[in-house]
Symmetry: C2
Subunit: 578 residues, 2 copies
Amino acid sequence: MTLDRFFPFLVWGRRYGRDDLQGDLIAGVIVTLMLIPQSLAYAMLANLPPEVGLYASTVPLLAYAVFGSSRTLAVGPVAVVSLMTAAAIGQVAAPGTAEAAGAALLLAALSGLFLLALGLLRLGFLANLLSHPVVSGFISASAIMIAVSQIKHVLGVAGGGGAVYEQVYSLVLELPTLNPVTAVIGLVALAWLFWVRRGLAPLLRRWLGWSGRLVDVIVRAAPVVAVALSTLVVYAFSLAERAGVAVVGSFPAGLPPLTLPPLDAPLAVDLLPAAVLIAIVGFVESVSVAQALAAKRREHIEPNQELIGLGAANLAAGFTGGYPVTGGFARSGVNFAAGARTPLAGVLTAVLIGVVALVATPLFRDLPNAVLAATIIVAVLSLVDLGKIAEVFRYSTADGLAMAATIVGVLALGIELGIVIGIALSLAIHVYRTSRPHIAVVGRVPGTEHYRNVERHKVLTDPRVLAVRVDESLYFPNARYLEERVMALVARNPKVERVVLICSAVNLIDASAIESLEALIHHLRDAGVAFDLAEVKGPVMDRLERSHIFPLLEGRIHLSTHAAMMAGERPAGTTAAA
Amino acid sequence: MTLDRFFPFLVWGRRYGRDDLQGDLIAGVIVTLMLIPQSLAYAMLANLPPEVGLYASTVPLLAYAVFGSSRTLAVGPVAVVSLMTAAAIGQVAAPGTAEAAGAALLLAALSGLFLLALGLLRLGFLANLLSHPVVSGFISASAIMIAVSQIKHVLGVAGGGGAVYEQVYSLVLELPTLNPVTAVIGLVALAWLFWVRRGLAPLLRRWLGWSGRLVDVIVRAAPVVAVALSTLVVYAFSLAERAGVAVVGSFPAGLPPLTLPPLDAPLAVDLLPAAVLIAIVGFVESVSVAQALAAKRREHIEPNQELIGLGAANLAAGFTGGYPVTGGFARSGVNFAAGARTPLAGVLTAVLIGVVALVATPLFRDLPNAVLAATIIVAVLSLVDLGKIAEVFRYSTADGLAMAATIVGVLALGIELGIVIGIALSLAIHVYRTSRPHIAVVGRVPGTEHYRNVERHKVLTDPRVLAVRVDESLYFPNARYLEERVMALVARNPKVERVVLICSAVNLIDASAIESLEALIHHLRDAGVAFDLAEVKGPVMDRLERSHIFPLLEGRIHLSTHAAMMAGERPAGTTAAA
C-alpha cells in the first residue's frame, strides 16, 4: 500500500513484539548516554548555545522515526554538519546572537525542504555525484579542521578562527596565555578517551574475550565517564570561579520550544548553497551507514524514503529550536550493537533527552568545555584515514587527484568550496574517461565467424572494409570523438569503401550521438564510403527507428558482425558452388 | 616532426602548387566580398565601432593560418560571439566608450589565452560538455535574440535593450517614432536578401541547373549588392542628412593598430566567465564546421591544434584592435565552395580586408545601418531550427528537456546563464542515466553454457546462486546503486548462498566502485552470502589486482559465467560417473 511506503512505521509497528521492545529499550538508553555529551559538544562546535544541541536531539528523532526507512539509524547532531553549520551561520551573524540562532533554524528548515524535495521528486541519485574519493577526502579534511578548532578549548587559550594554518598560528602565539587547570583537565580527558579506544578496547577484546559489540558500546560510553568525573571535580573545587575553567554554564531548562525560522528571503538566499551542501553531505553520511546496518540483517533501505525521513527531521529541527541533523556513523553503530530493532529506540532516546532538557540542565553547569572539546577531537580523529589516500592513489591516479584536490580545497578554501572542487573534478575525470572510449579495429579470426582486435590477435582483414568496435555507449561526452576517430581511420586507409560500426557494447545512443552519426554518415558519403551497423541491441534499435537518421541506415543494420562483413560480398553460397 | 605538428603550414606549404594558388586566390576574393559587410554588421551587433570589425578580420586570420589545422576554415567575427561580446562588455562599460573597446580587447585576449591553455594541456575534450541539444538550442535561441535586437535598426526606431520580451515591448511602444525612409530601405533590403535565398537560389538550382556550390557563392554575395546599392541611394539623395537615415558614418582609415589589452585585474576577473564561454562556444562552432569540411576531402583536423589556432587568432585580435573571433559556419562553407585549398586563402582575405581598412573606409560612410541589420537578420534566421526541437523531443524526452531548458534559459536569463543551465542539465541527465544501469538476473539456457536474462528467456536458475549481469562500467554515479540492487535482490531471495557478478560489460571499476564492492562483499558476508566475479576484462583485472580488496576476491574470480556457476558444485564429471 502507498501509505505503508510513505510511513514505514506502519510496517514495523504492526508486527511489533516483546523482543523488539527489549532491544529498543536498552539501545535507547545507551544512545541517550552517548548523545547527551555529544549534543552539548556539537552545539559548541556549531557556535550555538548548549540547549540547541539538546533540542536537535529530540523532535527531529521523532520525525525520522515516522518517515525514515532505516530501522537502526540514529539521527541527531553530528560533527561535520555542525562545523558546516558554524561556517554557514558565521557568514551571516555574530556567534552567540539571536540572529545566529535564527540562521541555524533557517538553515535546518532549508536543508529539510531540499531533502524533502529531492525525495518526493525521487532525485536521490544526485547524491551519487559525491564520489567516494571526494567524500572520503572531505571527511578526513573536515575532521582535521574540527580537531584543530578544538585544541584551544582543551588548553584554555583564546585562540583564533579562520583557516587551519591561521588557527595553528594563533594557537602558537597565544600558548603563553594557557589556563593550566583547564589544560590539565582537558589533556587528562583526552588521554583517557584515547586510552579507552586504543588500550582498553583491545584489552577487553583480546584478553577477556568480550564480544566486539559489547566493547564498542563501552568505548562509546567513555565520554560519559569523563563528563561526569570532570563536572564533579570542577563543582567540588569551584574551579570555574577560582581557576577560570571555561564551563558550559547555566542554560534554560525546558522542552524544545516551538520556533519559526526567520522568514527573511535575502538571508535564505545567502544560506541556500550551504543548506544544499549540508543536506547532500548529511544524506551521503546517513545512507552509507543505514545501508551498512540494514545489510547486516538482510533489511532494505529506500534512498528516496531516507531523503524524506531526513528532510522531515531537519524541518522539525527548524521549527523546534534545533539546527541541522543527520544520521551519525558512530551513534548508529552503537544503536545497532546495543540491540535496537526499530525506530522506537530513537523515539525513546528523544523522550529521554527531552527529560534531560526539562530537568537536568543544572547538572551540566560545571561541565568543562575542555572535556567536550576532547570528546570531539577523539571522535573526529577516528575519521581521518591517511592510509586511504595512499590506497586510492595506488588504485587510480585520477581518483587520487580528485581526493587530494578535495582535501586541499577544504583545508585551504573552506568546506563548501572544497566539496564543489571535488565534485567538479570527479565529473571532469568522468567526462574525460567516457569521452575517449576504447575503439578497436577488428578482423576475422581465421576459420571462424568471430572478430577480434587487430592489435591483439592474428586476424584477417579486408582493406576495403573497416570494422570498428566501440566499447562504450554513444553519448555526448564521446559523440564527437567517435566521429574524429573513424574519420581519421578512413583518412589513413584510402582503400576503404565501407565502415562497419559494431555496437555490441552500446547501451544507449543519445541525441548528440545521433547528430554525430548523421555527420559521420554524410562525411563518409562525401568521401565515397558506405556506413553499416552491426549487433545493435534491442532497446537501442527501438530508439534508432524513431530517429530522423533511420532512413540513412535502413537495410544497413546487420544482426552479427559476420553478416555485416559478408554483406558487401557475393553470397557465400554462390562462391562455394562456383 | 614536432615542428610540423605545431605549425601545420609547414606541411601544406612544402607541397604548395599552382592549382592550390588558383583556388586560394578566387576563394580569398569571394570571402573578402562576403566579409566586408559582415565585419561592419557584426561590429554593430557587438556595440563596437565599425573599424573594430575590420581589424578583427585581418591579423587574427593570419594567426590562424599559421597555427590552425583546418585547411578551409574562415575565421573572423561571427554573429553569436558578437552578441556574447556585446553582453559581456555591456556589463563593465558604456557602449561606444574607450572602456568598452578596451574590454573587447581584454575579452579577446582572455579567450585566446584560455583556448591556448586548453590546447597546450590537450583539454579539448572539455568541449564535449556541450551536448548537441544544448548547442543547437543555444544557437536557435541566440539567433532569435540577435534577430529581435536588429529590428530597431531596420525600422529606424530607437528601441530598447534587455531581454527579448523587453525589446519587443519597447519596439511596439516606439513604433510611431519609426523613420519611414530608413524603414523602406531596411525592409527592401530584407525582402531582397530573403528572396535571393528562398526564391533566386532554388530558381538557379532547378531551372538553370547550376551547381549547388556556385549558387551558394551567389547567395552569400547578395549582401554586397544590397550594401552597394543602398549606399549609392543614400549618397545620391543625401538621405543621411535630409531624411535622418542612420548610417555607418565616418571612421578612421588605417591598418589595424597595435593595442595592449587593459592590464586591469578586477576587470579581467569580471570578464573571465564570459571569455571562457565565448572560447568554448567559438571552439565548438569552429570544430563542427572544420570537421565537416575536412571530411569532404578526406583531410583530418586535430581538435587540440584547432584550440591553439583559435587561441592565437583571439590573442592576435586582443593586440590589434579587434574583438573575439572564431570560425564561421557560412563563411567557411563559401570559402570551401569557392575552391580554397589552404589557409593561404585566409591570408589573402586578411590582406584584402587590410587594404579596405586602409583606403576604402570613406565608401562605407553612407552605408545604412538598416541594411547591415537586414544582413544580420537573414544570416541568423537561417540558424533557427524549430523542427530540430521537435525532432530531439521525439527521439529522447531527456535530451529534449535539456534543449528546451537551454532555449528558455538563454531567452529569459541571458546567454551565459542559459548555456550553464543547459550544461548542468545535460550532466545531470547523463549522471541519472549512468546511475541506474541495466542489471539483469541471468539463468542458464537449457542444454548450453549460455546465460540469459531470466525475464526475457526460459532459463534454469539455482535458488542458492544469484547470477547478476550489470550492463555498464562501475563508477561513482552507479556505485551505490549496484550495492542497493544486489542487497535488495538478496533480501528478496532468502535461499541465496552465493552472488555471481558478471562483468562482461564492465570497462572500468573506479575507486568509488571498489569501495562499494568492498561494502557489498562485507554486507553479503554478514548475511552469510559469498561473492564471486565472472568474465572480468583484462585491463579491469590488472587494476583489481592492485586494489586493497583483491584478497577478498582471490580465487573467486572466474573466467566464464558457467565456470562461476559450477564452482560451488561437485565437479560435473563426478555426477556423470555416479
